[in-house]
């Protein structure tokens, strides 16, 4: 960025308005254009330049963020007061506001100078380099135990509370068909149905949810496999994902199947 010294320059600022970090940044850039110590800067001239830039921006229909417009409105107010004859209460108020603005600009200018000063330091990793292969001589010893009496007490209370005292809340488990139940049901039913039947026929009735149904299928299949292992039942599935068929082992069955 180069310093801007006249309103023509301010026009060219327009196109780069989004390059500024907010209104204060632009004001500082304009102030720099006056090539003066910030303490002796003409706030009035500065205000006019800023307003000119904003007007120009409006002319080329640049979308301006609210903070640019808020600052413009405030500066317009400030300008009107600064133009009032001296010694009026309004003019005093304006002088004060102008001083506050100058102080804010000075503070920002200082921080910018501080940033430059920091950047001018021998920055580690840029201008100077630390050891690329540091060595670590520390050895971690985890052999000791971190135990204390209060921890032991808390643990005891927690254990006793859970065990005897108020039972902690446990969400009610949905009543799912268990393998034991499936075994009992299968053993009871399979003898009465001598031929091949689908697994579904052995499911309990009143399965409300899909979860319950899936659990019942799984439990019945497991029960079926268990009984097949015990040699009292046969299972068959003709195609992958096809229906699973079962029937009891009958006299004369071979070892195949």
């Amino acid at each position: 960025m180069t310093a801007i010294s006249d309103s023509g320059g301010a026009d060219s600022l327009l196109l780069r308005l989004d390059g500024f970090e907010g209104p204060l940044d632009l004001l500082l850039e304009l102030a720099r254009g006056q090539k003066l110590d910030l303490a002796r800067i003409s706030i009035l001239a500065l205000v006019e330049q800023y307003l000119a830039v904003i007007e120009g921006a409006a002319r080329v229909r640049l979308e301006l963020a609210a903070d640019w417009l808020v600052m413009a409105a405030w500066l317009a107010w400030l300008k009107s007061r600064l133009l009032l004859p001296k010694d009026s209460a309004e003019a005093d108020e304006a002088e004060e506001a102008a001083e506050v603005l100058a102080a804010r600009l000075t503070a920002l200018q200082r921080m910018r100078a501080a940033a430059l000063w920091l950047g001018g330091r021998p920055v580690l990793g840029h201008d100077v380099f630390a050891r690329g292969l540091p060595e670590d001589f520390s050895v971690t010893d985890r052999s000791r135990l971190a135990l204390d009496m209060s921890g032991l007490m808390r643990a005891y209370l927690a254990a006793v509370k859970r065990g005897a005292g108020g039972k902690p809340y446990r969400p009610a488990r949905p009543a799912l068909w268990s393998v034991q139940e499936a075994l009992a049901r299968l053993a009871r039913l399979v003898g009465s149905l001598p031929d091949w039947n689908t697994l579904e026929r052995f499911l309990p009735e009143h399965l409300a949810s899909p979860l319950e149904r899936r659990a019942a299928v799984a439990a019945t299949l497991l029960a079926g496999l268990e009984m097949a292992r015990g040699g009292t039942l046969r299972l068959r599935q003709d195609t992958a994902f096809g229906p699973i068929m079962l029937r009891p082992v009958m006299p004369g069955d071979g070892d195949d199947g």
């Binding site: 060595e135 985890r142 135990l145 921890g151 005891y156 209370l157 927690a158 005897a164």
Partner: protein, 184 residues
């Protein structure tokens, strides 16, 4: 061949800052053309000979390394005491208050089953030990705390344990501070 100070400084800085051992070839890339990288590295090694840091030849080049005789003096042991898992801590506390106690009784008090690994942990740390068997069906082992337990908690006597009656009237919040105690 003489080695100029400028090359020596550059070599020193480069080997120091590099994240991997530096070869003579790599060094040659930054040295003036007239310089002999190998000779520069030799001169650098000579300069550091006998110092606290030495130039070591390792696979693929050279790097600075702490002189071997100093390493043990720089060794720093960092103590990171281990915490016991919550289940082990609860089990230990129950054994402390109810000893001698069987595993089944511990499970009953905690209201949860006790894994063998938890018992093993406490046994390996020497905090608990068997103390006879209970006159009951199956004659289960009775467990009690050990002398190591007393040392760990700085107890002279088991009677120095805070009384259970005093503990249990504490506001329930004290236990809740444990945070994750609601899970089983």
């Amino acid at each position: 061949m003489t080695v100029d100070e400028d090359s020596l400084r550059l070599a020193e800085a480069m080997v120091f800052a590099a994240a991997a051992p530096v070869t003579a070839r790599q060094l040659a890339q930054v040295l003036p053309e007239s310089a002999d990288a190998q000779a520069v590295l030799s001169a650098l090694a000579a300069r550091y000979a006998g110092r606290g840091v030495e130039l070591a030849e390792v696979a693929g080049g050279v790097q600075f390394r702490t002189a071997p005789d100093l390493a043990f003096r720089l060794r720093k042991v960092v103590q990171v005491p281990r915490r016991l898992p919550r289940v082990a801590m609860e089990t230990l506390a129950i054994i402390a208050y109810h000893q001698p106690v069987t595993r089944g009784e511990i499970e009953e008090i905690r209201g949860a089953s006790l894994s063998q690994s938890t018992m093993d942990t406490l046994l390996e740390l020497g905090l608990i030990g068997p103390k006879g068997r209970k006159d009951a069906p199956g004659r289960p082992t009775l467990w009690a705390t050990t002398a190591a337990f007393m040392t760990q908690f700085a107890l002279r006597d088991l009677r120095d344990l805070p009384r259970r009656e005093d503990l249990l009237v504490e506001p329930p919040d004290a236990a809740a501070q444990d945070g994750n105690q609601s899970s089983t």
